[in-house]
């Protein structure tokens, strides 16, 4: 489903991605962990081209793109890629001037040109799926953080993406609200959604991930099933980082 080869990305003189090779099969869950500045968020954002890599190649579903830093990527390719991915943001980024229902309907109507009634029906289903029936007409500022994030998940699902991308989805939430969002994510995973999740939630990684990747300094330090990466890392740096994380919990 996803194949990344030799991805490089720098911001000015700062090399953030230093040659990343990664692949993910359909229906699997990939969790990316790592210290601040390791490049994990940048890697995630390369998957829907919110960041454009300087070099390397990306295959996602039917899309196949080569990057060479100079040539501009064809706009239609970018739009198609973004329609087949859905992203959930750390700070939710809901549209404040629209209700929960309108947030979820927006892309269906504007991007996919679906009929309004069909979009409304689908949106109500999605809001029910994330446990927010009855909140369709609420504005984001009337919802708790956990509720807003669940609207964010419903909104990302609305375009029927092939891959769901999560950028530290629970990092901005109060601890009590983290659970309700992780629950929705676990259900999605169980239903067979292909997911890439950047997170610090080790328990989620241990329980829901098929593969865990640990990044540092723009490279992958460890890669493998959660039991191996989280319990038995082979590198010193990885052990350091994981000890820190588990000490915090």
């Amino acid at each position: 489903m996803i194949e990344i080869r030799n991805l490089h990305k720098s911001f000015g003189s700062l090399q953030v991605l230093n040659g990343i090779d990664l692949s993910l099969e359909k229906g699997k869950v990939l969790v990316i962990i790592g210290p601040s500045g390791s490049g994990k968020t940048t890697l995630l954002r390369c998957l829907n081209l919110l960041e454009t890599p300087d070099a390397g190649s990306l295959k996602l579903g039917e899309a196949s793109i080569e990057f060479d830093g100079r040539r501009k990527i064809d706009k239609q390719q970018v739009l198609k890629l973004r329609q087949s991915t859905g992203m959930v943001f750390q700070s939710y980024n809901l549209f404040p001037h629209k209700t929960a229902l309108e947030n979820v309907m927006e892309a269906q109507i504007v991007v996919q040109k679906r009929d309004k009634n069909a979009a409304r029906k689908r949106s109500l289903e999605l809001l029910a799926k994330v446990g927010l029936s009855g909140k369709e007409d609420s504005y984001p500022h009337q919802l708790s953080g956990g509720q807003q994030q669940r609207v964010g998940i419903a909104r990302a699902l609305a375009t029927d993406p092939e891959v769901m991308l999560f950028d530290e989805p629970t990092s901005a939430l109060d601890p009590e609200l983290v659970g309700e969002v992780l629950k929705v994510m676990k259900e999605l995973a169980a239903e067979g959604m292909t997911m890439v999740v950047v997170t610090h939630e080790m328990k989620f990684a241990a329980e829901a991930a098929d593969t865990v990747v640990l990044m540092d300094g723009g490279v992958i330090l460890e890669q493998g099933p959660p039991q191996k990466v989280l319990q038995n890392p082979s590198s010193e740096r990885a052990s350091q980082f994981l000890n820190l994380l588990t000490a915090k919990e």
Binding site: L50, K75, N93, A107, V111
Partner: protein, 222 residues
Amino acid sequence: MDDRKIQIVIDSLWPMIKAALQYTITLALISFVLGLVLAVVVALVRVWKIPVLNQIAIFYVWVIRGTPLLVQLFIIFYGLPSIGIKFDPFPAAVIAFTLNMGAYNSEIVRAAIQSISKGQWEAAFSLGMTRVQALWRIILPQAARVSVPPLSNSFISLVKDTSLAYTVTVVELFQVSKQITATTYEPLLLYMEAAVIYLAICTILNALQNVMEKRLSRFSTQ
């Protein structure tokens, strides 16, 4: 105040209000609306740094903000005819005020657009929206709300600046008060009367601004 003065005030009321409706308000409204369209275009050119147009926009804003409105009016109405471009008074005033509003308001619109967090653009893009779709559906509605106070300010200033149009022979509110003063020799009375009419118009505009701000803040906690 004696009866003669009271009579002057009463007699001059309708001519002044008529001029205010016919010229002051129409001049302000037309120029503001046209200027706002221009301001949005210029703001977008600046925000998206569209090549060539960006340089032209920067130059335009620099020149308009760096020269007095009065001088701009004179150049358009009195200066251009010598190179063959002639405008009637009202159109000349509209052009000058539109260009003026366009420049000043483009900075307001640009700041408003840039004040909307990047996350909003990213959310829109991640859903597959184009730049234009994101702008129209997500960014501009939010930027509009932010820009109501400074744009209202701008409009209220414009209403008062329309008094400058008398210099290019538009018989607007201030010119009427000058004309009546010339025949009645009561400058204090008549200029105060004109001031009161401007004040009344601006007070109504203030109230409208409050209504707009209340209505637009329905969906935010800020």
